[in-house]
Amino acid sequence: MRHPRFVIPLLLLTLIGCAVEESPVQTAAPDLPPSLFLTSPPANARSVAEVKESAALGDEVVIAGQLVGNRQIFVEGAATFILGDHSIEACHPEEGCDTPWDACCTPITERRALSATIQVVGEDGKPLRTSLKGRGALSELKQVVVVGKVSQRSEGVFVVDASGIFVAGGDS
């Protein structure tokens, strides 16, 4: 049997409860490379599916796709996003998906097979600690072309370290 504690919190606290926030890693948000966002589309772009099929680790690639295929396209707090192949269809409002870009009507395994991870890394080879969302007009469902190098390549894993990003319809 517990004894009542004679510290009386407010009823609201009782009902709502209080979540303990995780203490964030203390890192100042770094700047993105100035030349990251391209003003014209690079030549010789290939689709995500084609590039994933043929590119090897360390290859320079020009990869065209759409920000689609996952509920969370951008990693909050890091320069990483998921690029989907053009063949992944965004959801129509009447299909009842949480977001249009999660493409929930396409099986997740299929979506993931047609997706690549794009990241902008620092000197340490790790993604920069700043979100790309909203930068250079990047947002969900945008068509983009990424220039970069394949940094991770294994069964199901395909990561490109981007050196240039062109956002169609962007105003960079």
Binding site: P4, R5, G17, A19, G77, T80, C104
Partner: protein, 388 residues
């Protein structure tokens, strides 16, 4: 100018013992129901709060963020999560807990055809590192391949059996086999308290699955954070992972159960409203029989506020007694009682805030229940009151 003596209020209570008993029982019941509702909401809320200072992240199957029981991820995910730098370790052992969560029918008596759906968690020993709030109070952790179980403190309530029935050495029946209880654990005010823990591989065999529900890892604050976990999930598209802090996960669960809490709150309000109406009825009857006396007191020279105060004293004596009895009953009987609900069970919490809410509501009802009939009673002109 002074008021009516307190004695006047107390002795008036004895005028009609039947009515007094009814009012006392009513007031006790209303307060008890408010306490029960508040302890339900508090208990449920507490069980859905992660332990304070928690820096765990939980990797689930993408698309199953709302329910770990629906989630499925590959076994390989546990090793991949181990690549995050900044994970907490102890003696070289990283704080990574691959787990299977599943609700299965558990029987205490093999003759009974249907068991009770109980949350089972398949774990490895590292689970005790990640879930530091879990304390083994008796016995030991179960060993894989030996048909052994570790049982939470609220499981007896969940299964509807006396706690002694789940003592060390006792047997439970799961999936047509006998499982021996080798340990008892407590993780007060968490969902774990209502769970049965079983070695991961044993549960995978029972559930005929070779994957996991989730992987939970503990980060070292300042060295890694949720972003590192999210980067990993984004890079390992093959694993189809979603990641969130354990706090976020419980907040999601909490939001999911918000309608249940709202319903309980609404029920409590309806009960309170019923209590007010019942109180009004009792008080109207009690005071109506004393209209002439109220007139007499006014003729003697008592101002109306003195009479109102005295009548409120009467009502407050009843509601205070009811609230005290209900508070004591609630504390003695309800505190810690297991309540079953879809995801397992949680314990009712009757602590100082809950008691304060219940007793406060009881006293408030006493006031609200008495004021209108008192005012109604005093509205009558004195001359008419004397003739009534």
């Amino acid at each position: 100018m002074r008021g009516l003596p307190f004695d006047y209020a107390t002795r008036n209570l004895g005028r009609s013992p039947g009515r007094l008993a009814g009012a006392l029982v009513g007031s006790t019941l209303v307060t008890l129901l408010v306490i029960a509702s508040a302890s339900f909401i508090r208990g449920m809320g507490a069980s859905l709060d992660p332990p304070a200072g928690n820096s765990n992240v939980i990797f689930l199957g993408a698309g199953s963020e709302e329910s770990v029981e629906r989630s499925e991820i590959r076994m390989q995910a546990a090793d991949v999560v181990g690549t995050i730098s900044g994970l907490r370790t102890r003696l070289g052992q990283p704080f990574i807990s691959p787990e299977v969560h599943i609700g299965l029918a558990v029987r205490t008596d093999p003759a009974v055809p249907e068991g009770r759906l109980t949350p089972l968690r398949g774990v490895r020993p590292s689970a005790f590192l990640v879930h530091s709030e879990v304390q083994i109070t008796e016995g030991r952790a179960p060993v894989a391949g030996a048909n052994e179980l570790l049982v939470g403190g609220l499981v007896s309530g969940q299964l509807g059996v006396p706690d002694a029935r789940l003592g060390l050495g006792e047997v439970l029946h799961i999936d047509g086999r006998e499982w021996r209880i080798v340990g008892r654990m407590r993780a007060p005010r968490t969902v774990i308290d209502a769970e049965i823990w079983i070695p991961l591989t044993d549960l995978q065999v029972i559930a005929q699955r070779d994957n996991l529900s989730c992987v939970i890892a503990t980060l070292v604050p300042g060295e890694a954070d949720i972003t590192d976990a999210e980067i990993l999930a984004a890079q390992r598209l093959d694993l189809e992972l979603a990641v969130m802090t354990e706090s976020e996960y419980y907040a999601t669960l909490s939001r999911f159960y918000a309608p249940v809490r709202a319903m309980v709150l609404a029920t409590a309000l309806l009960v309170a409203l019923g209590g007010i109406l019942g109180g009004l009825n009792t008080m109207v009857a009690a005071f109506a029989s004393r209209v002439r006396e109220v007139g007499t007191l006014q003729v003697i020279g008592y101002p109306r506020r003195a009479i109102i105060l005295s009548f409120l004293q009467e009502s407050w004596i009843i509601s205070s007694c009811g609230a005290l009895v209900a508070g004591a009953l609630g504390w003695a009987v309800l505190d810690g009682v297991a309540v079953r609900f879809s995801m397992g069970a949680f314990g009712l919490i009757v602590d100082a805030p809950v008691l304060a809410i219940g007793v406060g509501a009881g006293l408030g009802l006493g006031l609200l229940g008495a004021l209108p009939p008192t005012i109604h009673c005093l509205r009558l002109p004195v001359g008419q009151a004397l003739k009534s």
